[in-house]
Structures are given as C-alpha cells and as structure tokens.
Amino acid sequence: MISSDVIRGYNDTMILYLLLNEPSYGYEISKRIRELTDEKYIMKETTLYSAFKRMESNGFIEAFSGSETNGKPRTYYKITDAGRSYYKEKCEEWEITREVIEKFIVKENFHEYN
C-alpha cells in the first residue's frame, strides 16, 4: 500500500473528483477510491474524515444530512464552487509536478527495449 507524502498531498483531489458529479458519503468514497485504484490505495477512515473536516472549513465541500440508513441520517458531502476551482488548481499542479518529477525517473526497462 502506498503512503508517500506525494499521495497524501492529493487525498483532497481524489475526494473532490468523486464529488464532481454527485454528492456522496464517507464509506462510498473510500470504496470507490479502492476500486478505482485496483486496491493499490486504501484511504484510512481517519485520513478521509480529517480531509472532510479540513475541506469543509476551507469551504471546498459542504456537509448535509441525507437519507436515513439503519435509523441514522447519513452525512453526505457536496462540492462547492470554491471546491471545483481548487480541484482544477490541483489538477494543473499535478501536471506540472508530474512533468518535473518524470525528468528524474529512470524507467527500468527503457534501455532494454529501445
């Protein structure tokens, strides 16, 4: 499982991506992250919750009570406009990050096959 500083900086990005089209709740988000990454990345519950709280106070997402499950109202999160523009920023930042880092990455098999 990955746990580098780089991926930690992009937890918010992953969560915002999953909220782009529709609101969602804690477990669904963590499940979709797991599925989308072929189980290479599993976001811990505490990581997810602290990301929710941080983004909520930054105004990137909003919490609201959704439909009841097992008698308890579930907390849903939806993305705000500020959240969308932050997401766009992070995508651009990632593009640059990737370009920069890739200059320094030796691809093991590169020389063998080319």
Binding site: S30, K44, E45, T46, S50, K72, R74, T75
Partner: protein, 319 residues
Amino acid sequence: MNTIRNYLDNMFLGLPQTEEVTKAKMELLAMMEDKYNELKDSGKTENEAIGIVISEFGNLDELGETLGIKHALENKSDIPMITYEDARKYIEITKEATPKISLGILLCIISPVVLLLLLGLSELNMVRVKEEALIAIGLVALIASVAAGVSYIIRFSGKLEKYDYLKYDLFETDYKTEQMVRGILEEDEPIYRSAVSTSVILYILSALPVIVIPLVFETEGLSVLSVVITLFIVAFSTYNLISKSAVNGTCNILLQQGDYSLKRKSNKISRIVSSVYWCVIVAAYLGYSFTTYNWAMSWIIWPVAGILYGAISAIVDER
C-alpha cells in the same frame, strides 16, 4: 458489531467530549459499520470483517488538529496501558486472594460463636464450669479467631492493593485484552448471579432463628444458641457473596463499566464526597458513643447513613 463500537470507544477514551469529537466518532462509526456490513455480505467471516475494518481505521492523531484536540491527544499517552498479561494476572490474583479474604471475614463474623455456645450450654446446665472460666475460654477463642481473620484479610488484600488504582484512574486496554475479559465475565455471570441470590435469601433467613427460637422456647440458653445459628448463616452468606462476586467485580473494573465507568471516574466530586462522608460518619459514631456510652442505640447511625449515602451519591452522580 459491538467489537467495532468498543474499539472506537477505546480510541476515544479520555478525549474531551466536545461536539466535534462526538460527531467525528459517530461518523467514523458509520463508515466502519458500512464497511463491516459490506465485507460480511461479500462472504467474509465476522472475525475477518472486524480485522479488516480495524486494520484500515487509521490513526486518531490525524484528527488532532482538525478537531482541536491535539493537546488532549498528546496527553492521552499519559493514560496507562493495561496489557493482556496485566489483566490476566489481575483476574488470577483475584481468584486466588478473594476466597482467602472472604475466609478472614468469615472468621471475624463467627468469632463470638465459642463464647456464645459455652454461655448458652451453661445456661441450659449442660456444662458445669464456673461462668468466669467459660467467659475466659470464649474470649480467647474470640480473640484468636479475629486475629486469624484479620491477618488473612491483611495478607491477601495486600496482593490486590497494587491494582486499586484501576478502580479510580483511567486506563486503556487493547482489543484482545477486552475480548478476553468479556469472555471471562460472561462465563462467570451464572455463578455470580446465583451467588447473589443465594446470599440475599440467606441474609433474610438468618433473622429467623433469633426471632423464632425465643418465641417457641422460653429458655434463655436457647436464645443465646439461636444467635450462634444466625451468625453461621450470616458468615456463610457473606463468604459466598464476597468470594463469588469478586471475578465479576474485577472484570467490570478492567472493562471500566458499571461502578467503574469513565463517567464516574471523571467525576472527582463523588470520590471526595464519599471519602469525606464516611470519615464524618465514623467520627460521629465514635464521638457520640464514647461520650454517652449509649452503644445500644448509636449503631442506628449505620443503616441511616447507608440510605442517606445512596441519596447523596445519586445527586452527585447527576452532575
């Protein structure tokens, strides 16, 4: 499912119960429950599902800053950890020491028996020795019995003393330890329940000999002997109650529930009130009795104080 709830309770142990913290706990629980249910539906066993949920929970330190409890989390490391070994040892010592302590109490309760027996028999003219001699023998037996009893109590409660802080201070246990203690508590439940009910019935019945025997026979000697029977019944039911409820008590201490719940532990007032209260009562009892020599009446303070204590602690606990 309870396991997950307990795990979470443990993680949040000793943290301030602010609105944010309570909300965080609820939402984390919801996420864990969702995950648990889905794992169960996908064919995982109970234990596998719990294992995965707990291993993927993460670390509460991550929430420190967002919940404004960073300081509390850092202080949390001051809370002592009770390991599996500690807990097992505590229960073992309880099992070993409490029957001995109960025996000590039993010896104290029955200490006047020889004295009473001799006086009763002499009253019935069944022993023909001077009364002074009988009293001397009886007193020697009484003192010997009390001495043996007290030495037993002191020796074996000393073994349990080092665990006393668990009754008053917060501590943490891990999941495995808690499961072990819960298992023992469950196993012990029937023994505990039957001991309590047996003893309660015996306590009630213990009054019968002193009431009935003097009513039926009007001989003085027999009423003295009836006290002996009563003492034996009281001694046995006390022994039975204390020795068989000890494991239950220790398990509750280790699980920090019932009388040892976190709420009660954090209520410092109730501890102070209770220790001051009983000191005052003892002082009042001794002061009044020694100045007036009205020992025949002054004992009434005990049942009254006991009932009053219940009322006071109910009020204090509400705070």
